[in-house]
């Protein structure tokens, strides 16, 4: 899982972008701690062809990306 909690935008998206570029994984989990990052990571992932599910994660957010 990519733990991007505590990082402000655009860093969480940069982290996801790097993971997608390097391995093109079929699924990926990302933790973020603010609504802005949720929206930005979600938008980037959808653009890259992933389905995105957002859930609560220790009071923060978890995004599950699947192809």
């Amino acid at each position: 899982m990519i733990d991007a909690r505590g990082y402000s935008c655009p860093t969480p998206v940069v982290m996801v972008q790097k993971a997608v570029k390097e391995g093109a994984p079929a699924s990926l989990e990302v933790a973020v701690d603010n609504q802005c990052s949720v929206e930005n990571v979600k938008r980037f992932a959808q653009h890259a062809g992933y389905r995105v599910e957002v859930s609560d994660f220790e009071g923060d957010f978890k995004l599950v990306l699947t192809k």
Partner: protein, 366 residues
């Protein structure tokens, strides 16, 4: 794969851009300095003046400087963002992401902004008013952002922020509220220019009302002047830049509508100088520094309103930078660049940003 509709994707940002543009035109029509309806750098500088941290242009006859006024626009933006964040449970105090690095970056971003004479928001408002010097500034701003992006791509980060207490997060909005109360209840405690840009102001209540609305809209839409160009280059995401364009178009239309006129020129533009090199270099510093900070000065105010104490430290750095810029003769005026060591200050800013950028690359730990 689901796709957002155009309206959902761009609607909130374009609407916020129109709101910001309209607010700038209205505030100017109601008394704010021309092409400065809503300038974060200028207004933070005026607040530094109101607190007597600087009194540029002081004369014995007037007993004040020319850029001293506790602009309620700033307090309104922070409090508007804070109220809506609290209401929507998005007020999440956090901080601890290299606060002192952010502080010094902010000082030099402000110096760059005052060499150019405006933050990225005023740059856009100046473009909308026909000021071609601001187009030169835009070129510098884009260059600065591109430099910042090089480091973002290499894993630049100022490290993680951590959750903070509610008290910690509420202190900055609380200070803004206190300043607002003093402005309305005991204005004699604050300095207030009687001549120059600091003396030109829309009625405080109107300015506050407009700023509360803009602060709330910015919090919802995440509008950011540096984010627009950054995301367009980095992710081919054009949402934020749509607000940027919406502000320019609205200000142009607004200026024509209220009869301010629209003259495209380098010379004779309000509160601007036409020294191209320094307009450019000042904004390179602003663009680069803002990418390192993760957002433009406006965005830092909104984040501080959401309880982000790193952004609160950043805004404090802006105020200190503004005071330093005026006290050391680094700030420009309509007559040209400052009489102090401008080249040294901007040069030191570049060296500092380079060191910070290099020292903080490859810092991402997933």
């Amino acid at each position: 794969m689901e796709r957002e509709s155009f309206l959902k994707r761009y609607g909130p940002l374009i609407l916020t851009g129109v709101l910001v543009g309209a607010a700038a035109v209205a505030l100017t029509a109601w008394g704010n300095p021309q092409n400065m309806g809503f300038c974060i750098a200028c207004f933070l500088r005026d607040i530094a003046g109101a607190l007597n941290f600087q009194r540029a242009g002081f004369t014995a006859e007037t007993g004040t400087g020319i850029v001293q006024y506790a602009r309620p626009e700033i307090m309104g933006l922070v409090l508007g963002a804070a109220l809506i964040a609290l209401g929507r449970k998005e007020f999440r105090p956090k901080g601890g992401s290299s606060p002192m690095v952010r502080f010094v970056i902010a000082v030099f971003v402000m110096i760059g902004a005052l060499v150019f004479l405006g933050c990225p928001l005023r740059m856009v408002i100046r473009i909308g008013g026909g000021d071609l010097n601001a187009v030169v500034g835009l070129v510098g701003f884009v260059l600065g952002i591109l430099i910042g992006i090089v480091f973002l791509k290499r894993g630049f980060s100022l490290k993680r922020a951590y959750r903070q207490s509610m008290t910690e997060g509420l202190i900055f909005p609380g200070l803004m509220l206190a300043l607002l109360v003093i402005l309305f209840a005991a204005p004699q405690l604050l300095q207030r220019s009687v001549s120059g840009p600091g003396s030109m102001a829309a009625p405080a209540a109107a300015a506050l009302a407009v700023a509360l609305a803009v602060g709330a809209a910015d919090q919802r839409s995440r509008l950011c002047m540096v984010g627009g160009i950054r995301d367009a280059v980095l992710f081919r995401d054009f949402r934020l830049i749509s607000a940027f364009i919406a502000i320019i178009v609205t200000v142009m239309a607004g200026n024509l509508l209220v009869g301010n006129g629209l003259t495209f020129s380098f010379a004779g533009q309000p509160v601007a100088h036409s020294d191209g090199l320094w307009n450019l270099l000042g904004m390179v510093l602003v663009g680069w520094g803002s990418v390192l900070l993760g957002g433009c000065p406006l965005r830092q105010l909104i984040l501080a309103g959401e309880g982000n104490t790193d952004s609160a430290v950043t805004v404090t750095g802006f105020i200190v930078g503004a005071a330093a810029a005026h006290n050391l003769g680094l700030a420009s005026s309509a007559d040209g660049i400052g009489t102090g060591p401008v080249a040294w200050a901007v040069g030191i800013g570049f060296v500092l940003f380079a060191v910070i950028s290099v020292a903080n690359t490859n810092q991402l730990e997933g």
